[in-house]
């Protein structure tokens, strides 16, 4: 929306006239009914549960309805350590979710492998296989951090245009909504990452 339109809108609101656009209304509805998938992988899940309880009250953001089925969920909170044995199931659950769908990688393990990064059995970040929208550091992150991630995600949803080249994935017909499920190989996951989603960081030499 144009800047002048924003000012006009604010002026009109002062006079008691509510103006909106279809885009805003659509995104307002979407961002206030993000239903997470009900699953936890490790101790971060305890903080996620705490965030949904009365003290932190995730219901304020319209996200209290943790769905036990991926078909009914909009948001996957990867809360905890993703082992290599579990990673194919996590990707498969994501594939089973209906568009539009979002991913929050919660905690050090989910974003990078965390303290288990050098181990033999832990995936070094779920962003190797899934398009992550919000990363939360912390071990585990406090519920406030998860709320902040939620608000970040809401801002992201609210800023998505419905038309044009920058429109989100679920409004583009050719965009993929499923991502390849890795296989358990003799030493680790095959392939070790999905090149369509993640590329290894290039070494940046300090100048």
């Amino acid at each position: 929306m144009e800047v002048t339109d924003q000012e006009l809108k604010i002026d009109l609101q002062k006079q008691g006239v509510l103006m909106t656009s279809l885009n805003e209304l659509y995104n307002w509805g979407r961002k206030n009914s993000v239903w997470p998938l009900q699953f936890g992988l490790a101790c971060c899940a305890i903080e996620m549960i705490a965030a949904s309880m009365a003290r932190y009250d995730l219901a304020r953001f319209g996200a209290e309805v943790f769905r036990p089925s991926p078909r009914q969920a909009d948001l996957m909170i990867v809360a905890g350590t993703v082992t290599k044995k579990m990673a194919p199931q996590v990707v498969r659950l994501y594939n089973q979710m209906a568009e539009p769908k979002y991913v929050i990688a919660m905690g050090a393990c989910a974003i990078s492998g965390g303290p288990f990064k050098q181990g033999y059995n832990v995936l070094k970040g779920i962003d190797r296989y899934l398009p992550v929208d919000v990363h939360i550091p912390g071990c585990p992150p406090r519920p406030e951090a998860l709320l902040h991630a939620f608000m970040t995600l809401q801002n992201k949803i609210a800023s998505q245009p419905l038309t044009g080249p920058a429109r989100p994935r679920h409004l583009r017909a050719g965009a993929p909504s499923e991502f390849s499920v890795p296989q358990c190989g003799p030493h680790g996951l095959v392939p070790p990452s999905n090149p369509a989603v993640w590329r290894p960081p290039t070494a940046a030499q300090a100048g």
């Binding site: 044995k85 050098q118 033999y120 358990c184 003799p186 030493h187 290894p200 960081p201 070494a203 940046a204």
Partner: protein
């Protein structure tokens, strides 16, 4: 509760063929353990459970130990020695006969409310002869823990009802808790902003061969 010497004596009285030895413990806790021979391990375990004065009817924990160097405290496995300590990971492979794998059982008596008695069983070596008798027929609680030891250390338990990998997936090669195990896709193999990481990577170039060796030495592959 009887002392370990009394238990050892009674085992030898009841089962004259059994090899039992007391392993001293120099650490502050000083908890000693019984090293059993492989052949009579099952018979001795049955005796310990069924003897009315011992009644060690509960196995609380089973774990594995990888003795990489021939620096065993005392035991049946004769160490060739003179090889020296192997500091570099992966170098301990190949020399069969050095070191062994060990399963450790912690027993308690629920009937007499005492314990623990620690049992040890050692394999012949680390590569080819890695078989031990399973004590699952004696204590049912050993089942998953022996599977875990098989999964992570590669000890094959004879007589186990369902010996499969437990934590790692089927088709995984190698035994990660062995001390010479090297992770295949080590995180350092990725370029990072730190300049010294590729340098530290260089002594691990032989990574792939070592894993090949481990895979071929696996008796079940």
């Amino acid at each position: 509760m009887e002392t370990l010497e009394e238990i050892c004596f009674r085992i030898k009285t009841a089962l004259p063929a059994a090899r039992v030895e007391i392993i001293p413990n120099a650490s502050p806790c000083g908890q000693r353990s019984l090293l059993l021979g492989r052949e009579q391990g099952l018979a001795v375990a049955t005796f310990l459970r069924d003897d009315p004065q011992l009644r060690l009817d509960y196995c609380s924990n089973v774990t594995g130990v990888d003795w990489l160097e021939p620096s065993l405290p005392q035991g049946f496995v004769q160490s060739p020695s003179s090889a020296g300590l192997k500091k570099e990971a992966g170098e301990g492979l190949g020399e069969s006969g050095t070191g062994c794998l060990e399963a450790v059982y912690h027993l308690f008596s629920m009937a007499h409310k005492n314990g623990p008695v620690v049992l040890r069983l050692r394999t012949e070596n680390r590569l080819a002869a890695v078989r031990l008798p399973s004590l699952t027929p004696v204590w049912r609680s050993c089942e998953f823990q022996e599977r875990e030891i098989f999964d992570l250390f590669g000890i094959v338990f004879d007589g186990h009802p369902d010996l499969r990998r437990l934590l790692m997936w089927e088709g995984f090669q190698g035994f990660p808790m062995r001390r010479d195990y090297l992770v295949a896709d080590d995180f350092e193999c990725e370029p990072t902003p730190h300049g010294d990481v590729p340098k530290r990577m260089s002594p691990r170039q032989g990574c792939a061969e070592v894993i090949q060796k481990t895979a071929t030495a696996d008796p079940r592959v």
